[in-house]
């Protein structure tokens, strides 16, 4: 079975609401993910990202709304080539690595020989070639994560859903994981990625959605979202004192390096002149786009301020 039709979104979520008891955790959420794109699903802990993915995959029943993959409600028995790396990780810990991988490979439609061959090659690639017959609970946490990732991608999925994929990975393994995701992206796979690593999102994702309290606060291409949340910022290095100004807000200021967000109508020239005239000791002044990190802080900063207040 092949997923995706160029005319229709591969993942379609419309007016999705999810209640747990009297608490509504997601309300009126709508977004699409198109075949072949890499989609970033952003939000702080508890914002409803994992709940949305679980509802999309039939693990939770939605309270209301439409959640479709390839035009219909997901059923594992459909045989869709889907790879899902859940936030809650775990495999059969008392079984040997290869046995578990072959089991999942068989469930995903591979023959035993194919599953063994694929697993052997993958384990070699991730440095676990000698651990095929080792029980999973004898591996380190990072090694177990690698096995879990292998299980996720072993059917060469056309739709890859990764819930905080880098969680628990050291920088070396994170690099490996990102390489693997990029390989699938290049091969035409659709990737939905929940992550708090904004630099990865900026590097990999075509479009993003930012959830807060179960409501979409931003949705579109990375550039669209950056534009929506202030577009350009000015990165300055200085050796004096930054003045307070009605032309800009100080987004960050640390050790002579600051990021300034211009207010409405404040041009680059006006801001620079204000800084020079105020004697800030400007050494460099570079226009740049606001980072997703900053947007994230902007969106959630309001909440933190309220909580602290």
């Amino acid at each position: 079975m092949t997923l995706g039709d160029a005319a229709e979104p591969l993942v379609h979520i419309q007016d999705f609401r999810m209640d747990f008891g009297d608490t509504t955790v997601i309300r009126d959420l709508s977004f699409d993910v198109h075949a072949g794109e890499t989609f970033g699903f952003l939000g702080s802990n508890g914002s409803g990202k994992t709940t949305t993915l679980r509802a999309l995959l039939g693990i939770y029943r939605p309270t209301a709304g439409i959640l479709h993959i390839d035009g219909k409600v997901f059923e594992p028995s459909d045989g869709a080539r889907l790879g899902y790396l859940p936030e809650e990780r775990g495999l059969y810990k008392k079984e040997a690595v290869l046995d578990v991988m072959v089991y999942f490979g068989r469930l995903k439609g591979l023959s035993k020989a194919e599953a063994r061959s694929w697993s052997g090659a993958y384990l070699e690639r991730v440095g676990l070639g000698g651990k095929a017959k080792t029980r999973l609970d004898k591996l380190s946490s990072g090694q177990q994560q690698k096995v879990q990732l292998g299980v996720t991608i072993m059917n060469n999925p056309e739709l890859l859903i990764l819930d905080e994929p880098t969680k628990g990975f050291d920088p070396v393994n994170r690099r490996l994981l990102m390489d693997i995701i990029e390989e699938h992206k290049r091969a035409g796979a659709t990737v939905i990625m929940v992550t708090h690593q904004m630099e990865e999102v900026e590097r990999l994702c075509d479009r993003v959605i930012l959830l807060k309290d179960g409501v979409a606060r931003a949705y579109g291409t990375v550039e669209d979202v950056q534009e929506e949340f202030g577009g350009t910022v000015y990165r300055v290095t200085y050796d004096g004192v930054l003045p307070a100004s009605h032309l800009f807000d100080v987004v960050s200021d640390d050790d002579g390096q600051a990021e300034l967000a211009p207010r409405q109508g404040a041009s680059e020239e006006k801001v620079l002149r204000e800084l020079v005239e105020a004697g800030a000791g400007i050494r460099s002044f570079t226009p740049a786009r606001i980072s997703l990190d900053e947007i994230f802080i902007k969106v959630y900063g309001e909440q933190h301020e309220l909580a602290e207040g």
């Binding site: 939770y60 309270t63 594992p76």
Partner: protein
């Protein structure tokens, strides 16, 4: 459909293999046959010794003296056995005491009222039995000689066999031979539940405890998973039964005499179609109910330890009907028996007992069978539902109503 069947086979193979290759399973399964082999070995050695000893005692040749106030003992027979009549009982006893005589038997005037006194030189606990054996054999041989009829002797000594035949509805009733075959289903039910219940309980708990539920639920239909688990457990149970029965079968075939095992006379068993079919259906229905309940408990409880608190009372339900065993057989209309017959968790054992003893009429049997299958399938469906929407509640006890509330809302 093809993928579902492929996955069912994959689940069965995986679950069967990983259960049977566990060290704990091997130890638990092999412990019983090993224990049986040890017991049979001891029995073999013991029976060989006993048999040899009994033969030796029966044919023991030693000289003895005797006195006979009853007049039963035939002097010729006593002489042939090595006996000499004692003139003075006190001297005869003294002779045994000082070792100049091996034994002395004192037959009283009336052996039915007074014991035969046997005195002998101590030869150890086992060999000392020869004195009594020879004294008894001498008395029996002498009595038979006096009666002059082996038939009368058999009648008097109670070795005559009796063969009873009763009639029901104009036909010969099966009797005990007809009770045993349907009760075998009860034995199979108990064995299967004792062997498999703990594995069933843990089968779905493992997915929760290992946090593997999400991976499984997005790869495999939960009905396929649970069906595969149940089938594999049934296969595991068959393996265990075969391993347990192997030493018994071998012992019966090759060492039956030495182990003093009773001879199986299958010709006396009557396999009536009605009770046999009813027994088989009750067994399957009961198995379905208990399997569903155990899998559901596994889906609700966060850990094996917490599941154990419900597991105990559930298993007790299988044994409670035995407290009313006499009523089940003699007064099946009693209220308590009726309740046990229809309450799903006590119904399998009660109905199987009543079916065996012929007190479950066809209408009652039909109701119980239908009830067990309907309740069993509903509970299994509930178990699948709870696993699908509840096993994601890692580390927490599931709110069953909550899983349905979500469904109701989703349907709106």
């Amino acid at each position: 459909m093809a993928l579902a069947q492929h996955n069912l086979g994959t689940v069965i193979a995986f679950e069967f293999t990983r259960t049977t290759k566990k060290r704990g399973f091997a130890i638990a399964t092999l412990a019983i046959p090993v224990l049986l082999i040890v017991v049979f070995g001891l029995l073999y050695a013991s029976n060989t010794t006993t048999k040899n000893s009994a033969e030796a005692q029966k044919n023991a040749q030693f000289s003895f003296t005797y006195s006979d106030a009853s007049g039963i003992i035939a002097p010729a027979g006593a002489q042939a056995a090595g006996g000499t009549r004692a003139i003075n009982p006190a001297a005869a006893i003294e002779a045994v005491r000082n070792g100049s005589s091996a034994a002395y038997f004192e037959y009283p005037t009336d052996p039915t009222r007074e014991p035969v006194k046997v005195y002998g030189a101590d030869k150890g606990m086992f060999e000392n039995g020869k004195y009594e054996a020879v004294a008894k054999q001498l008395l029996e041989a002498s009595a038979q000689h006096q009666v002059g009829s082996p038939q009368l002797t058999a009648a008097l000594t109670g070795t005559v066999k009796f063969d009873s035949e009763t009639f029901k509805d104009g036909k010969t009733a099966a009797g005990v031979g007809g009770v045993i075959p349907p009760l075998l289903f009860l034995v199979v039910f108990y064995i299967s539940m004792i062997l498999l219940s703990n594995l069933m309980l843990n089968s779905t708990l493992e997915e929760k405890e290992n946090r593997v539920t999400e991976m499984i639920l997005t790869t495999l239909n939960p009905t396929t998973l649970i069906t595969g688990k149940i089938v594999s457990l049934f296969m595991v149970g068959l393996v265990q039964v075969m391993v347990f029965l192997a030493p018994v079968g071998l012992a019966y075939l090759f060492f039956r005499d030495r182990l003093a095992l009773p001879e199986l006379d299958l010709s006396s068993l009557v396999f009536e179609p009605g009770p046999m079919i009813t027994g088989a259906l009750l067994l399957l229905g009961g198995f379905t109910v208990f399997t569903g309940v155990l899998v559901a408990i596994g889906a609700i409880m966060p850990t094996a330890k917490e599941a154990g608190t419900i597991f105990g009372p559930l298993m007790a339900m299988m044994f409670i009907p035995f407290y009313t065993f006499s009523l089940v057989i003699s007064n099946p209309e009693a209220l308590i028996v009726q309740i046990f017959t229809y309450f799903p968790l006590t119904a399998p054992v009660t109905a199987l007992l009543r079916n065996g003893f012929g007190t479950l009429n066809p209408i009652e049997a039909t109701i119980v069978i239908v009830e067990l299958f309907v309740v069993g399938i509903l509970i299994l469906r509930l178990a699948v539902h709870l696993f699908r929407y509840g096993s994601i509640e890692y580390g927490r006890k599931l709110n069953i109503a909550g899983t349905f509330r979500r469904s109701e809302l989703a349907a709106k």
